[in-house]
Point group: C2
Chain length 561, copies 2
């Protein structure tokens, strides 16, 4: 996928009654990432004819860019190792993080609302079944990662802090390319099993029959040609979130993000199509959050990967006044929050852009082109890196970048004493690095922080996430901001993926899975794979429920609504 | 309006084709607060027959609870006094606060998107015209408040920091009862001018004609009887926000609020009805924010008023560890943000509940039953007040309240050393009060902080917002949380109030005004009356545009969509 990738243009999402269909099938799946491919496979394995439509020129969506860890509670490999993961404990952990402001350990639903609880329960009950079936069929074999901790492994609520993470078999040791592997094996299986795949097809709207039931879709290609596809049983959307619709981001998300690393085709299509069909929008405020390299987001770089791993031990983040304001090694979903602090007296977001600063040690030993690291090795695209021999020079370089982007970042600039302040900040940090204890932000004290620390030079510091920053240059910097991987709000569904109308009744024939529908995780990011584990479970449930749908009428005038 | 007030039950918002109407009129207005009454009056003055439907048993909505300051840029009274308020400067001020992360002083739209800019411009251009017309007709006469500052009067962008605020003529000197006055005069004028008003009528859904245009509404009363009202020209919604739909709050708002002080009938009706008609939802993340008394919100007290005025000079807010964490005197929209700070390492909202602490001095001299003050005079409802002779006793009392509400506030409790820490905090604050300078949070340094300081004992401190807290009891406390006045997201409209479909085209016959539709203010609260000033301007524009609508067909089968 490249910057010049063209997508079919957007048109009205208003449902239509179609009298003529170009193609017929049992189940139409919209989207060719993990959610769509899994839905298509599960539907096919129930004996259905399936057509999968993907807007982009190739399959993969956001999944292709992902490491594709997948979080599967009480999975078979855990069971084999004797790692207990009882349902109430697991849901309690999920609730603790999804709705911390309402979490009560002893409450019947742990403070979740009934829908959220039912969704979490369905995930727990079906994730392992779904992933085992994908493995058995050869679509997605896995290796177990028994040493990977959950992102809040230190919580008393987490009774199985390690063992829930699976990874596509065949991914490399660094575990960063699971998405490529998964798309390859899942799409090969889909083709082998007779699923019809059409790329470059943008689903614009639903078609409905006499009875109001959804009976297909209309899609257009890059030349504007319309194809109407009849779905005898159901349409399952798995078309991703609204990361690349800037207007939706501004009007729904809880934080002012500049973008994210979802596939550029994630433009909120199902927010529009699902709402137009009468679906209730839910969880529109939260997203899968992650720091991002600001300039890649502003340039709409389709290769943008979220900063999963803030690598470098001799590396800090500072604000425009040259001060540290956060623990740089927090898990990405939490680290992103530092950028959105609001100064209620000045009426501004003082940390909207932060600056990662590192020295030659980190450049030499912590560079990598994996996990969205901003410290990149020689030969990699380093257009986002500022380099200078002195802190003063670095300040000048940073200020130039800020000026270049002033129109997009509210004119944010450095304070006059940035370089001097940065020097003092480094001195203080270096003291922490020497003692191994960060008295300001407790960097590196939690399991997840070590998980994402990345490679460091040996010997490492007492605390392997910290090492004194050199007294002399060269120094390096990158501009960071808060962003998201993808959003996680959209039409509300039943645990079986049925899109629900404003009275919580299923809209006949309409299903959704993944980031295009409302997630019950609310603000939580439970663990690595907390996105993909649920997606596979819900794809399984949606496909099996869609299989049971009655055959929809194909033609006729619109019925009274 | 009382706690036992019953509202007609909610039913499906799905539009219908109605063949028989019970009532016919030109324009139906939904909602009997300021937005609805103003829309009805402006429509009537254009010569239309108007029916106004209000869900509650009486008119007034949230307006009745409001002080009803109204912010009118470049108003006639300013002009008479020679106070200049040029349009570009005024919109620049609005943009600076609406989208601080994108604000650029020299940008053609100051960083606003084109829709936001057009909405702000339409407000500026029409607010004074609208309010003058209301005054001339005797519906809403005003007195000018030339001494009331905007909430960010100290900003260089604010070229007219005083003079934009009007108040209903006849409101008392304390300026707190403008809403009562406005509802009285506006509804009397509406009746006098022949507007048909029906209360206890909950609009459930729209009706549409052959051509898909909106041609009326269906409403039900407390007994479930359905009335179908034909609107020959248009329906104008002014039915308020979604403050009292807890599920919507959790799934849209940027912050975990426990409620707000909108009329209890503000249940997000138009989010559902407007979306079902194909309207795009916008600005769903932001709200008109305000600290609230936690227990009144949890008890769903219909008399809840937001804490506009955090009165008391010998008064502080502390967290569960007994420490100050914010400037208590910030304007309410900003003060509310302190409660939503996120601790990214602990996974919790540490300030979800804060505790206002005061002594006998503030109790004796700063008590009032106006502006939502939590320090209330003898005889007023003080169920939310904890009183004790010592700080230790106060801690015990606070802890009891927290335990009582544990299931609703995530089990939040006091730290073991709360009382001791509170004592140290008071000592530090008292030093600030003596010097007149708050070295931690700069309390009282901005014009808006003095505006809402409320009455204090004479002689006041050097800084009238601070006075040393007594060394001995009695002490008082109240539990506070962040809340909202009302929400400000909903279907997007044109500046003329036309609800826009997903291609930004007006939905024929459908209009919206006020908190039930998307506000272009985004996160801003520009000044006192920053809610009502725009509402009156947009009501004027919507009513005049609705007047021009063609007559809609009344019956027939549904047309192809």
């Amino acid at each position: 996928m490249t910057a010049s990738m063209k997508l079919p243009a957007r048109a009205s999402a208003k449902p239509v009654t179609a009298a003529d269909f170009d193609i017929e099938t049992d189940i139409v799946v919209v989207g060719g990432g993990a959610g769509g491919l899994a839905s298509a496979l599960f539907a096919r394995w129930e004996g259905n004819e399936v057509v999968l439509l993907e807007k982009a020129p190739e399959l993969g969506g956001t999944t292709r860019k992902a490491a594709f860890w997948y979080w599967v509670p009480n999975n078979k490999a855990m069971q084999a190792l004797g790692i207990a993961d009882p349902k109430p404990d697991c849901i309690r952990y999920m609730a603790r993080l999804a709705r911390p402001e309402r979490y009560v350990a002893g409450h019947p639903t742990f403070g979740l609302d009934p829908w959220e609880y039912a969704m979490c329960e369905a995930f727990y009950d079906n994730a392992s079944t779904a992933t085992e079936l994908l493995a058995e069929k050869g679509a997605l074999e896995y290796r177990h990662c028994p040493d990977v901790p959950d992102y809040w492994a230190e919580f008393g609520e987490d009774k199985a802090p390690k063992g829930r993470v699976l990874l596509p078999k065949g991914a490399k040791d660094s575990m960063s390319d699971g998405g490529e592997v998964a798309i390859r094996t899942m799409s090969a299986t889909a083709r082998r099993h007779g699923i019809e795949i059409r790329t470059g097809m943008r689903v614009q709207r639903l078609t409905r029959g006499d009875d109001g039931a959804v009976n297909g879709v209309q899609a257009s290609d890059i030349d504007g040609r319309l194809t109407t596809v009849r779905a005898r049983k159901a349409v399952i959307f798995a078309s991703g979130g609204f990361t690349h619709d800037a207007e939706m981001r501004r009007n729904f998300l809880a934080a002012p993000v500049f973008g994210g690393c979802a596939a550029v085709s994630n433009e909120g299509d199902f927010v529009r199509i699902g709402a137009a069909a009468g679906g209730q929008l839910r969880n529109m405020n939260y997203a899968w959050m992650c720091p991002i390299v600001l300039e890649k987001a502003l340039n709409r770089d389709p290769g943008l990967i979220g900063t999963f791993s803030p690598s470098g031990d001799s590396m800090i983040y500072v604000d425009r006044q040259g001060r540290r304001v956060t623990n740089e090694k927090l898990a990405y979903n939490e680290s992103a929050q530092a950028f959105f602090q609001w100064d209620a007296a000045k009426g501004e977001y003082p940390n909207l852009v932060l600056f990662a600063i590192w020295d030659q040690r980190s450049q030499d030993h912590s560079a990598s082109d994996e996990y969205g690291r901003f410290i990149v090795p020689p030969g990699a695209d380093d257009a986002h890196v500022v380099k200078a021999d002195t802190l003063e020079g670095l300040s000048v370089g940073i200020a130039e970048r800020l000026a270049r982007h002033a129109d997009n970042i509210g004119g944010l600039g450095l304070s006059a004493d940035f370089a001097a302040s940065l020097g003092a900040t480094i001195d203080r940090f270096n003291g922490f690095a020497e003692s191994g204890r960060d008295l300001d932000f407790r960097r590196g004290e939690r399991p997840v922080e070590q998980l994402f620390n990345g490679p460091v030079a040996e010997p490492a510091g007492k605390n392997p996430t910290m090492y004194p920053i050199a007294k002399s240059g060269p120094f390096y910097a990158a501009l960071l901001s808060g962003g998201n991987l993808d959003t996680k709000g959209g039409p509300k569904t039943s645990p079986q993926g049925q899109v629900l109308d404003d009275e919580d009744q299923p809209i006949p024939g309409l299903y959704g899975v993944g980031n295009c529908v409302a997630s019950a995780s609310a603000r939580a990011y439970w663990a690595g794979g907390g996105t993909l584990g649920p997606i596979l479970a819900y794809a399984y449930l949606a496909a099996r429920r869609a299989h049971l749908e009655p055959i929809k009428t194909a033609v006729g005038k619109i019925a009274a609504e």
